[in-house]
């Protein structure tokens, strides 16, 4: 068995030498997870706006279900969609099982509750005067909602990044729906699981490092954007 330091050094070598298999796996992870988040985002933001600005019967129940789904295990999503997409399942004809599309679907289900809940929290914090000001200045309901989304844009972006963090790091659903096929559905997390079971830790560690570096870059980018939106604190004087 390799020692941790040996594995770490080998991992660095794989990263800097641009090991093709490794970067292919990274590519699958980000293609699938970004697609899932981007496909989910408009729906989640619209649903969050509905929950924040409309009072309708059953709204509290919907919020309770949404919060419960935050702790939905990825394997449960994987299992449920597996049954739906498998040959004898209701959508078996679509032949989506063990494809990237199936992985995207699974990750959409996983990130939807998180993105919706975070966007809802952000929209609830908006100043009621913002809505009224938009309306009294002639904005229709749609433009007023878009204005409010603009007011909390950093919180919304934060929600999307959190959603991406959730799905890019999950393994259960990707494994069950994608099938871990090399060059097609093998992503960072399923590859780590496989390599570890084979005792090949270097690639696992290298992939783990890529995951962390990218998560860090996304968050650092968000902070940078937020920082730029602030001007000099002249208002204190």
């Amino acid at each position: 068995m390799e020692s941790l330091s040996q594995s770490g050094l080998e991992a660095l070598r794989l990263l800097v030498t641009g090991d093709r298999t490794l970067w292919e796996i990274v590519g699958v992870s980000f293609r699938v997870s970004l697609t899932a988040v981007l496909a989910c985002a408009p729906l989640a933001v619209a649903f969050a706006a509905l929950l924040a600005f409309r009072r309708f019967p059953g709204r509290q129940a919907v919020l309770a279900v949404l919060n419960t789904l935050l702790s939905l295990p990825a394997v449960v999503v994987g299992l449920s969609l597996y049954l739906v997409l498998s040959r004898h399942g209701p959508l078996g004809e679509w032949q989506l099982l063990f494809t990237q599309t199936a992985m995207v679907l699974g990750q959409m289900v996983l990130c939807f509750p998180l993105i919706t809940a975070m966007c809802h929290a952000a929209l609830q914090e908006t100043d009621p005067r913002a809505w009224e000001t938009a309306r009294t200045l002639g904005a229709g309901p749609l433009r007023a909602v878009l204005t409010l989304l603009g007011e909390v844009r950093f919180a919304l972006l934060g929600a999307l990044i959190a959603g991406l963090g959730r799905v890019v790091a999950e393994v259960g659903s990707a494994m069950m729906l994608g099938g871990n096929i090399l060059g097609y559905t093998r992503n960072i997390t399923t590859a780590i699981a496989l390599e570890t079971s084979k005792g090949a830790f270097a690639q696992g560690i290298a992939l783990g490092m890529v995951l962390l570096i990218l998560a860090f870059s996304l968050n650092a980018g968000l902070h940078w954007l937020q920082g730029r939106s602030r001007l000099d604190p002249e208002y204190l004087t």
Partner: protein, 229 residues
């Protein structure tokens, strides 16, 4: 479009509490109505109903046709612009905030010219590129007035427009209100300090027990009276 806007039978209750008990009000072009009353008398609620931001339990509009309730809300929003006691500034520059009030579409150069005119009217031209959320209370009030200037609505509803403003900011706001009146726009001003509005006030009303009654004419504040004497 520029005639009197007559509203009748305005009723509003919060639960069991009756705030507006079937009152009538005529908004008049080029006239300033001062609306006084104790805390909680319903001044802000009345303004928000008139602005179409708060649905009334009942409200009718005078005229040849009787519009549906949905149409009334739309009519109120089209004909009035509401200014909060502490106006809200959207994220972004002062200029962008002012441009928000312009109807969408239209030629870019023309829009820019109108925004610049409104900014200079409100004395905000030097702050055009500044972050609007960092403005002082008086500047923010003028930002709201600049936005109102670009709205085509004939009536402005102002909630305590001079509360928390110092003397110079207050006179500046009053000057701007005066130009609105000169241009034929009607104002409704809710306030605790009617004396400050003596120079612009035409009709002084008091809201009590959910109804409006005519109040005695407003006299200017003591310091002004002394100066004038």
């Amino acid at each position: 479009m520029n005639g009197t806007f007559g509203l009748r039978n305005i009723e509003l209750s919060y639960g069991a509490r009756r705030v507006l008990a079937g009152l009538d009000l005529d908004l008049l072009p080029g006239r300033c109505i001062l609306l006084c009353g104790d805390n909680g008398a319903g001044k802000s609620s009345l303004l928000r109903v008139l602005a179409g931001l708060q649905p009334a339990d009942r409200i009718t509009v005078t005229g040849p046709e009787i519009p549906s309730p949905r149409r009334v809300a739309r009519l109120l929003r089209d004909r009035t612009t509401y200014l909060h006691q502490h106006p809200y500034a959207f994220r972004g520059t002062v200029e962008r905030n002012v441009a928000y009030a312009l109807p969408r579409g239209g030629e870019r150069v023309g829009r820019q010219a109108r925004v610049e005119e409104a900014l200079s009217w409100a004395g905000l031209d030097h702050l055009a590129k500044d972050d609007a959320t960092r403005l002082s209370g008086g500047e923010r009030q003028r930002l709201a007035l600049a936005r109102a200037r670009l709205r085509p609505s004939p009536f402005l509803l102002l909630d305590e427009p001079t509360a928390n403003l110092d003397g110079p900011s207050r006179s500046r706001t009053l000057e701007l209100l005066h130009t609105f009146l000169e241009e034929g726009r009607g104002l409704v001003v809710a306030t605790h300090d009617p004396a400050h509005f003596a120079p612009v006030c035409d009709i002084h009303l008091r809201l009590e027990g959910g109804r409006l009654r005519l109040a005695p004419p407003v006299s200017p504040p003591l310091d002004r009276a002394v100066e004038a004497g």
